[in-house]
Assembly symmetry: none
């Protein structure tokens, strides 16, 4: 388990105090890598004040413009989600999630995304995640403060670390590195183009097709060789479909 | 387990914002009984602001003058403690502690004491406790914000409460049945035929291609809808490739 390979990504945070609270929560639990996606009021005095002795963590925080940029080099991405989505995604509680990312963190880059204070992550952002994380709450009041949510996730990682009993996971002996988010996004573009050429996907009425395929390939986590195979298939398919289009045009 | 029998007691809190944060953290996790021992600045606007939708919990908070008064009717008292004391006391982490007080709460009054922001509970206060609770932290920065500490303890109580109801695994909420072996085998036949038509797979030199694809789709466990999507793509691909073959034959 390597906490330095786990980054906390805050998306469009509104209150700078929360950013400070997150920095402190992380440092208390031994995490160090904070990424801020287009924060609304930052830097800000309140962030420094709430960070207390975690100002160094704020100072080393990386500010980027987009979620894509924040997670491009990651092999595993978790999104925190308050509510059930239209298409159910693999969903874990913080303890199960810590167990999962704790063991991956030895050899991979992991990101945990936290959304906006008022409405969390968008569906598009959640569909970039391998799995979703839900913190159990009372039905009477389910909206956790952002820094509190980060605290709970970081606490579970710390508990796992001090327990010292990481279960070896099923991927520990894998032969090929897992694909990064950046390469997966290229694959999705390629896949969508090909499905459109095949007239299987109608861009005017895409329904949930790409979301379902993202969920499928996000769930499996492709390794680099598998990704190359699938892209190879898409490339060959493209050639034949182009010939097929030519044939159809001739018939007309 | 009865969360209404577990009270959170804050001793001489300095920052009213922390009291609000505690109220919210408690309500998020389903706790309701807050006792304030001689808070320094209370009531206060900052407490209400940080409490957000947990203002009712602030309104019903009991303010008393002494720890003795706060815990007089309790049968079990836990004190949070950052450091080792001169006389070692029974010391548990939040998870162990939740298990202990969760089961007691069915029939007894339980208090969890949280000390001052700067120096915690006094030795005298800690010696009034049945056991001590320590939240594991990084050596680099061990001082947790007060509301964060309460959040972690309340979260552990909630986890204990919902364990019985929690989905055992990430797929528990899945919307569609997973594919049977029989249907998967049909899919692999269909896939192999299509890859051969695409001339991506050479039956004379198949190498490990089908094995790798079987590993990929076996790992992900396709649900029936995903399987139908993939077979639909193969069917469309077949049509276009047939047209493409026809076009190539015409050119010859």
């Amino acid at each position: 388990m390597n906490l330095d390979n786990i980054r906390i990504v805050l998306v469009n945070t509104t209150h700078p105090g929360n950013i400070g609270g997150v920095a402190r929560a992380m440092k208390n639990m031994g995490l160090s890598r904070l990424v801020l996606v287009a924060p609304l009021n930052y830097p800000h005095e309140q962030a420094r004040w709430r960070a207390a002795s975690a100002e160094d963590l704020l100072a080393s925080a990386v500010v980027v413009d987009s979620v894509e940029e924040a997670i491009a080099d990651c092999q595993f991405v978790v999104g925190t989600s308050a509510r059930e989505r239209r298409i159910p995604w693999p969903l874990l509680d913080p303890r199960q999630c810590a167990a999962r990312i704790g063991s991956l963190s030895d050899r991979e880059q992991v990101a945990v995304l936290f959304g906006r204070e008022d409405r969390g992550l968008t569906n598009g952002e959640l569909q970039q995640c391998n799995l979703h994380l839900n913190i159990p709450t009372s039905d009477a009041y389910s909206s956790l403060n952002l820094a509190m949510a980060v605290q709970i996730v970081c606490y579970e990682l710390r508990m796992l670390l001090v327990q010292g009993e990481l279960a070896a996971d099923e991927d520990a002996q894998w032969d090929t590195p897992f694909a990064t988010v950046e390469n997966m996004e290229r694959f999705y573009v390629h896949l969508e183009e090909t499905l459109t050429e095949l007239e299987f996907l109608d861009p005017a009425a895409p329904r949930q097709l790409m979301a379902r395929l993202r969920r499928l390939y996000g769930r499996v986590r492709l390794d680099e060789m598998e990704l190359n195979i699938l892209r190879g298939i898409l490339t060959e398919t493209h050639k034949w479909v182009a010939r097929g289009h030519a044939a159809r045009d001739m018939v007309k």
